[in-house]
């Protein structure tokens, strides 16, 4: 193997790894705040990709209807959970988040979609359509289970993943889609030809991570989210509404998932069920990183990306096997070092 191939494989691996890193980060965040292992996050990648591809083609994406359905369901779930202790501001807020916001986004999409408004507007519109689904799903599926053990939450997450894959088929159809790159620029650096999309992925990933870091280290809301993850009881005692912390964590995960989808759909054809395998790589990275460490997750994600690109070169038939079995030695090593994990709560 010569150095050119090596460089190309590395570049490929890092670009994919950047996406996995974003997904892994949001998995770690969601787990820390809500103890949910968000298996369904991959579906947001597919939803984001397919929504963007539809908008790019000048069509109204099926996800707009799905957003409306989830909004209604979220509203019903919110009213049911708060029965008996509803006051006006709470009801107004719930209606705003579950009915008004999706309606506004839907109207915007209906007006803008046929106009083919250009990459930037299409990306923003995609994020606006897909992101709110995640906190809505939190309301519907996880808030009623807030005090359940991790295993129950995991089962709910798997069920949600299966449901969302099915809904993806209903609302997007069985065909795969691909969208053109954001720009056709290519940068040549020595033997490397770096396509514009790779630069976009690298740049946006870096910007998003910096923004997340600033949010969690500097802002009081970010600190409140961390506090909820560190000690839920303590957070409740200082008056942090911990259910809202869960909503925010899910919203961030939805946003990151949708953005990842938008970023990869120019690189590969995405189907309604493609999200799971991509999400699974983020998940693998999060687990290798220990499901509790943000830098660990990012590092592991880059490794997963690189391992994937090298194994697809040498043994492409076993690509998935190689990537996912990477988890086993890490888990073994961990369990040898720490002894059997204690069942939490």
């Amino acid at each position: 193997m010569d150095s050119t191939i090596l460089a190309i494989l590395l570049q490929d691996g890092v670009v994919n790894g950047a996406i996995y890193a974003l997904l892994a980060l949001s998995l770690v965040l969601v787990f820390a705040v809500t103890r949910v292992i968000y298996v369904a996050q991959g579906e947001f990648v597919a939803y984001g990709a397919l929504t963007y591809a539809a908008l790019d083609g000048g069509h109204l994406p099926g996800s707009v209807a799905l957003l409306g359905v989830l909004g209604l369901a979220g509203c019903a779930a919110g009213l049911w959970q708060a029965r008996g202790r509803l006051d006006r501001p709470a009801v107004l807020r719930l209606l705003g988040e579950t009915i008004v916001l999706p309606a506004v986004i839907a109207v915007a999409a209906i007006i803008l979609a046929p106009m083919k408004p250009g990459v930037l507007v299409e990306v923003l519109l995609t994020l606006a359509i897909v992101t709110p689904m995640s906190p809505l799903l939190y309301r519907i599926a996880f808030q009623p289970l807030a005090d359940a053990p991790v295993l129950v939450l995991l089962i709910a997450a798997v069920a949600l993943h299966l449901t969302l894959t099915g809904l993806g088929l209903v609302f997007f159809g069985p065909e795969g889609f691909r969208a053109p790159a954001f720009s056709d620029i290519t940068i040549t650096a020595g033997p490397l030809m770096i396509p514009g999309q790779a630069l976009w992925i690298g740049g946006l990933t870096f910007a998003l991570m910096t923004a997340l870091f600033a949010f969690f280290e500097r802002s009081l809301t970010g600190k409140a989210l961390r506090a909820t993850a560190v000690n839920r009881l303590g957070a409740r005692l200082v008056g942090i509404p911990t259910e809202r912390a869960g909503l925010i964590a899910f919203a961030l995960a939805g946003f990151i998932g949708a953005l990842s989808g938008v970023l990869i759909v120019p690189l590969t054809t995405v189907y309604y069920d493609s999200g799971f395998m991509i999400g699974l790589r983020g998940f693998t990275a999060a687990i290798i990183g220990g499901l509790g460490s943000y830098p660990g997750a990012v590092l592991a994600a880059l490794l997963v990306g690189v391992a994937e690109s090298f194994s697809s070169f040498w043994a492409s038939a076993f690509k998935e096997v190689i990537v996912f079995t990477a988890i086993i030695p890490v888990l073994l090593w961990r369990s040898l070092r720490h002894g059997p994990a204690e069942e939490e709560e």
Binding site: G84, R85, L220, K223, A224, R226, A227, V230, N231, L233, G234, A235, R236, L237, V238, G239, I240, P241
Partner: protein, 244 residues
């Protein structure tokens, strides 16, 4: 006027009643203590007042019935609890722990937050020295200070302390009780739960004795401290001497 009025409150854990028909009151600027042995239901009482546990009966705070009010709203109204296990944010700095104590008041802005922080550092200079350190690395006494500091950041009118002396060396216990007395000067009412009856009766104005879920005795702290039953059960040889 009473800051806190608890009347006929009953709390159970899934069918088993932990406290029955409890009635207590805390007046403005008062220190009231509830003493009692392990498992009497002291923590249960505080958690119910804070809204951490559902209860029957009525809880009035500054004349307002709390009923189904969530914890966050109670904190906003001026109620703060320092729990038995402190519940600090272990992997966050001392200063961040304190800042989060101001969460409900955050609309008041940065300067109000800084002023509150300065007040806490005046009250506990030790916390100021350790402001950048993670809360999880503090000593037991410092943790208790941080837990109290975090609760005070909300500028409560009622501070509830669940066994602040638990697991601390006598010298530190003395410091904590000094602070409690000093806090009274600032006008905050205090509901103090203790097993260390001697120390609690020394600082409190009024005291209740809670045994197996019921109030069995109540009165002036001084009167109770002289009551033969109290002396025998709580102030006898069993409890360690306390400097004041």
């Amino acid at each position: 006027m009473s800051v806190l009025d608890v009347s006929s409150v009953t709390v159970g854990y899934g069918g088993i009643t932990a406290i029955t028909d409890i009635t207590i009151a805390v007046d403005a600027g008062q220190i009231v203590t509830v003493i009692g042995p392990n498992g009497a239901g002291k923590s249960t009482l505080l958690n119910a007042i804070m809204g951490m546990l559902p209860s029957r009966g009525t809880i009035r705070f500054n004349g307002q019935n709390l009923a189904a009010e969530p914890i966050a709203a109670r904190v906003g109204d001026g109620m703060s609890l320092v729990p038995e296990k402190r519940e600090l944010f272990a992997t966050m700095s001392v200063q961040d722990n304190l800042r989060l104590g101001f969460y409900r008041n955050r609309a008041q802005g940065k300067r109000a937050a800084q002023a509150a922080l300065d007040d806490i550092y005046d009250l506990f200079p030790r916390l100021s020295e350790r402001r950048r350190q993670d809360a999880g690395t503090l000593s037991g006494g410092e943790r208790q200070m941080l837990a109290m500091g975090r609760a005070l950041m909300a500028r409560p009118c009622l501070l509830m302390l669940d066994e602040p002396s638990l697991g601390l060396a006598p010298l530190i216990v003395r410091d904590i009780f000094r602070t409690i007395t000093a806090l009274r000067q600032t006008g905050v009412a205090i509901l103090l739960i203790e097993q260390n009856a001697r120390a609690a009766l020394q600082v409190a104005d009024h005291a209740y004795v809670l045994e197996t879920g019921r109030i069995t005795l109540q009165g002036d702290s001084a009167t109770l401290a002289a009551d033969s039953r109290i002396v025998e059960m709580y102030l006898g040889r069993a409890s360690p001497p306390m400097g004041g």
